[in-house]
């Protein structure tokens, strides 16, 4: 750990404040486009805050620094959430926020490596991230580079066969530098994930394949931080997964209580209301 790479570790801004800032930026971007995967962004904000302000090593001014921990966004439509944290981390300039989803923006609606500093891969075709992460983790080991590869995926991606090819491979190649983060909000395009292909006890399935598996409340920052620490420091000789149970729209109560769907509809006049609601819950 160097000071340059972990400057955030000594920051006096709390993780709760970081998570709040991430939610706020996501709402502001949603307002720009009048749409967006805001439910997911609000839900995963705590996991992203812990990732970028507790777990990861990186250099804001050099997003391709060879020593960085790699953070792959397999779920391309979560881009609005990642842009928020990349701005919060100083990797993307905050004054580009209002270009989100516009022509010529560096922040397209679905995340792509060729557009955005800090976006390691092109996600969006689901079930790709973990396999790429396996290859990157193998490559880092070849280079004797001690960095971790984090892959953030959704619960829906547990339905992709390619995910399980990668799950087996991570164990086969003893990739103890690979950490998979599953955002389990139990919501995919057609309805609850539990009604589609995720039949429960996911953490036991990963463990049965040979992964160090944890399942925590993804909106409990202390639990999230503890899970990251355990995943990074365990002496388990293989890959690690953390399944985060998260609540869609977390932090904006009238959206949280709305019938939750994969693509949450927010009316034109509701963005300001949502921002005001978020303001009420601002950490002290």
């Amino acid at each position: 750990m160097t000071e340059a790479s972990r400057h955030h570790a000594t920051s006096n801004v709390s993780l709760a404040q970081r998570a709040w800032n991430i939610r706020r930026k996501a709402l502001l971007m949603g307002e720009v486009q009048g749409q967006g995967y805001i439910g997911q962004a609000l839900g995963v904000a705590d996991v992203l805050a812990a990732s970028y302000f507790h777990a990861l090593e990186y250099r804001s001014e050099d997003p391709e620094w060879e020593g960085r921990d790699r953070f792959l966004l397999s779920i391309g439509h979560y881009a609005i959430a990642l842009y928020s944290v990349l701005m919060e981390a100083g990797i993307l300039p905050e004054d580009e926020l209002e270009t989100y989803g516009m022509d010529d923006s560096r922040m397209p609606m679905s995340g792509m490596a060729s557009y955005t500093p800090g976006m390691e891969i092109t996600g969006g075709s689901l079930g790709h991230g973990l396999g790429i992460a396996v290859g990157m983790a193998m490559g880092l080991k070849r280079k004797s580079n001690p960095a971790f590869v984090y892959n953030l995926m959704s619960d829906g991606e547990l339905g992709e066969g390619s995910t399980w090819e990668a799950v087996m491979s991570g164990v086969q190649h003893k990739l103890d530098n690979l950490i998979c983060l599953v955002d389990f909000n139990n919501q995919q395009a057609d309805g609850p994930t539990r009604d589609a292909l995720a039949t429960g006890e996911e953490e036991k399935k990963w463990a049965a394949f040979g992964w160090h598996a944890q399942r925590v409340d993804g909106n409990d920052l202390d639990a999230v931080v503890a899970a990251f620490d355990a995943a990074r420091t365990t002496d388990h000789p293989g890959p690690r997964v953390i399944i985060f149970d998260t609540r869609m729209c977390k932090g904006v109560d009238f959206l949280e209580s709305r019938e939750i769907t994969h693509f949450v509809r927010v009316e034109a006049d509701e963005w300001a209301k949502a921002l005001a609601k978020l303001e009420e819950g601002k950490p002290q």
Binding site: S114, S125, H128, G131
Partner: protein, 347 residues
């Protein structure tokens, strides 16, 4: 179910024998291509890759349980610490190769052409091609090179990959092509799909043109002739050359222009040769006539106002039969005799 397909399924059969009474069996999956009269080179791909990897320490090899059947086992045996067995998981094979390329390596990933083009397409498209990563996908059993039926016959792989931006596509003819190609695609900073003759691979091109050297992106005239211009790729260049020799007996002079790089296509040479005029232009490919070399040549000629009499030799737009490879090549018009006869009939 049609009457024909019912007959195929339910009619009793007897043993078929060849001209000398021998049983005609399906060629084994690892069988080498029949190439009478040519010397052969064992496992040119594997040996060339070992050679290239000695010069480039970024080269790594991956296979999805088909190293032995793609000649990658030669590399795996010579450099075991640079070989990754990915298991029977082609989506993972391509994703992991992309990940290794992202970390600065030069991955060669091998499987069968059907599995790369059909099963792993989305992963090749998005994890590799969209990001222009230098992954070299080298695939055995291209086109009609096995009698195992459509599950193993990659008759449309070129059509599939031609539609993919950034992709360089090579359809080598023989061992000479492969030995020249491997170091050139290794040096190429972008994704490559190469078809792969493997096992004992004939040396054809230098027999007909001793100074022949493979050049990525170039089509080359192997022999000249004033009556017909055959533009061919893959092992069909061998059949075209043999057919050209056969046609000499009928006083037909056939030129053979070998175009092993399907993309980017050597438009300049194709136009220069086809534009000479006075010759029937015939394309010959081990691929469906939909979306392969023939249509590429047709497009090249038509969009440049070159309009010779034009014919295509290739596989029909069908799922092909199972059986012995020589039987199938005869059935679908890929043998030397069939190529020669077809050309004669067009003159």
């Amino acid at each position: 179910m049609t009457l024909a397909s019912m007959k195929r399924k339910y009619e009793p059969r007897r043993v078929h024998t060849g001209p000398n009474g021998e049983r005609v069996a399906t060629s084994a999956m690892i069988a080498s291509l029949e190439a009478e009269g040519y010397d052969s080179v064992p496992a040119p791909f594997g040996n060339a890759l070992v050679e290239a990897a000695r010069k480039d320490d970024k080269i790594v090899g991956l296979s999805a349980d088909l190293a032995k059947y793609t000649d990658l086992h030669v590399f795996a045996n010579a450099m075991p610490d640079r070989f990754y067995q990915m298991g029977m998981a082609e989506q993972l094979l391509m994703s992991a190769a992309a990940g290794l390329a992202r970390e600065g390596f030069n991955p060669f990933a091998t499987t069968y052409a059907v599995f790369a083009s059909r099963r792993a397409y989305d992963f090749i498209a998005m994890a590799i091609a969209e990001e222009n990563l230098p992954v070299k996908i080298c695939c055995a059993l291209p086109g009609l090179t096995t009698g195992y039926g459509p599950s193993h016959q990659a008759t449309e792989d070129l059509a599939i990959f031609r539609g993919l931006p950034n992709m360089t596509i090579v359809d080598p003819c023989d061992a000479d092509d492969i030995l020249g190609m491997v170091p050139q695609i290794a040096a190429h900073d972008g994704p490559v799909y190469s078809r792969l003759p493997r096992g004992k691979v004939p040396s054809v091109l230098t027999r007909h043109k001793p100074d022949y050297r493979f050049e990525l992106g170039k089509a080359q005239v192997i022999r000249d002739g004033k009556d017909v211009l055959i533009i061919s790729t893959g092992f069909m260049t061998m059949r075209a050359l043999d057919a050209a020799v056969k046609l000499e007996a009928d006083n037909i002079e056939a030129a053979v222009l070998h175009a092993p790089t399907i993309k980017p296509f050597d438009t300049e040479t194709i136009l220069a040769e086809a534009g000479k005029g006075g010759r029937l232009v015939v394309t010959a490919e081990n691929h469906t006539v939909v979306g392969g070399l023939g249509e590429q040549v047709a497009r090249t000629l038509l969009t440049n106002g070159v309009t010779p009499t034009f014919r295509m030799i290739g596989l029909p737009d069908e799922f092909l039969e199972a059986g012995a490879l020589p039987t199938l090549h005869d059935m679908y018009g890929l043998t030397t005799d069939k190529v020669a006869a077809q050309i004669k009939s067009w003159l």
